[in-house]
Symmetry: C2
Subunit: 332 residues, 2 copies
């Protein structure tokens, strides 16, 4: 028995020594075992193994990620739209004459139903009023200040906590293997840049997004400044995504992650290159832990045609319900 | 005497051992000692020393470089314009109907005097014909093929050998100290990307340049492609340089290098940030080894006002004649 006790202690000690090591060896601990996780692991291993025919030289290791719906919650409204609507208060404080003029009046009312009826022209007026007219530094500071206080209606948590833990792990895993990770988002480039480094580890220079122009000038002290102006340079959605990738990166990605018809062309462009390629779509099918939405959603639309294309072309479709052990870092 | 001989041998041995080490310790061996070299060395040391009040965190270490006239020869004509003029032959081969139509007829003639009289509209027609209509990969391959064969009229050497060795050393020195080096060039972004990594160690994603749009589509096999189209997205010159820096990098540089009035706003924008800043202008005053040109030059204009601003604001003006030991790597 003494001997047996000793053996048990030894086994326990070995297991204690091994299990953290094993956990460390799994770069995707928030993923359930399955074909999606295996496809991601196999791709990174093959493209970073010099002996593999699929080896990709470090300089060409570019992985692009959509943001809204792919790496954080996009329902019931894009976070940036929430920002714009809530910034109307600050705009009206500076220009009180807007208080009784639509669409600002409705935006100020906080009436969600009325706001849901905004036309594109209404939204455009709000976007111009809240996203332009200030220096790039002022805008960056405004976004940071808002994000520090604003909370999502459902979870009562900051938007920056509503990032998908499994996708954070994918980004870290790619970077640990010599990949440069980029955002390629339909969202505003300067908006995402305000938090992408802190929240996702993606620096401003690796954020490709819908981009408004800036105008060079001088402040009253003669200091050089850039002011945000209402002129769209890049609509980084659908065909605009590969076009934006070429403009800002100048290399074709070898891996791309999206979640909607807005990402279709980015995935097609990624796949059309030579050698190993990984195309991934996050599928929102978890109404309980997050949302389940598909062809009928106003945003983040996942059409039947997109699902058919994914199957036909061998894209990886990630079921949030089945493939993800947990969705947010705050879940245990 | 024997003892003395031994001492001499020892001294010689020590000197032999030391001198290569000393040479290795000078990161700018092609620079003459002087205030320009000292300013560059002092800036990098101060911004990378954690104990210095001028310390810049690694993530913010962005250095931007103009290309034409700052890191390679721009006279008597921008290399990219030479490319476009010489590519007319290939264009006419594909579209023989252009052979007898101006400005293509004159471009084909090779008559330099006649070409020097081209209007902006003539040049625009040639630029559109030679820079658009092909996929981005085809354009990249065309530029590489041309560069491998084309030679500069004066030196009878490839354009890619006409880079300034002292500036290559500066770029390497900055990178060795954790800086990301970017081109911010009035030249075509896709043109410069075709050789920037090989020639300067600057990858495509760190080239900001005048950028034409691309259009997403499919080839006859249904493969996703990007075609270059004649629409200018960014005129990366003068005020367009800081605007392009914000669009593509999203951070204010801490160091910027230029050589002409086209770089003025980039240097002003760089200087307007907080903390340590380095603004450098390369001054072409060496008619013997390269060119001497100033306010009267059609390209690379260095105005009296720019020199006055540089002096007033403490920008470093590099005299190619006095500050550079050698200009090209092929000089001994």
């Amino acid at each position: 028995m003494k001997r047996c006790g000793f053996l048990l202690v030894m086994i326990a000690a070995v297991m204690l020594a091994i299990s953290p090591a094993m956990a460390q060896n799994d770069p995707l601990p928030s993923w359930n075992e399955g074909p999606a996780k295996q496809a991601i692991l196999a791709f990174v291993k093959a493209t970073t193994d010099q002996a593999s025919p699929k080896f990709v030289p470090p300089a060409e290791r570019i992985a692009t990620f959509d943001q809204d719906g792919t790496t954080w919650v996009e329902q019931p409204m894009y976070t940036q739209v929430m920002y714009c609507l809530e910034q109307v208060q600050a705009v009206v404080k500076a220009k009180p004459e807007l208080k009784n003029i639509e669409p600002f009046k409705t935006a100020l009312s906080g009436n969600r139903e009325a706001m849901a009826k905004f036309t594109m022209k209404d939204l455009e007026k709000i976007l111009v009023a809240t996203l332009t007219g200030m220096t790039v530094e002022q805008f960056n500071a405004d976004v940071k200040e808002w994000l520090a206080a604003a909370k999502h209606h459902r979870w009562k948590r900051p938007y920056t906590e509503l990032v998908y833990q499994p996708m954070l792990e994918v980004m870290q895993y790619f970077r640990a293997n010599g990949y440069k990770t980029y955002f390629v988002t339909g969202g505003g480039q300067d908006f995402v840049r305000a938090y992408s480094e802190k929240v996702y580890g993606i620096p401003p220079e690796q954020v490709v997004g819908s981009a408004g122009a800036t105008q060079f000038g001088y402040d009253k002290n003669g200091k050089a400044i850039l002011t945000k102006v209402p002129k769209l340079l890049l609509n980084d959605d659908k065909a605009g995504k590969p076009e934006g990738i070429h403009l800002m990166i100048g290399r074709r990605p070898v891996a791309a992650f999206g979640n909607s018809i807005g990402d279709q062309q980015m995935l097609e462009y990624t796949q059309a290159g030579d050698g190993a390629r990984l195309m991934v779509l996050v599928y929102h099918d978890d109404a309980e832990r997050e949302y389940a939405y598909g062809p009928k959603s106003k945003i983040g639309t996942f059409s039947d045609a997109l699902m058919a294309e994914a199957k036909q072309k061998g894209w990886v479709v990630v079921s949030m319900k089945n493939d993800w052990k947990r969705i947010f870092a705050f879940e245990k």
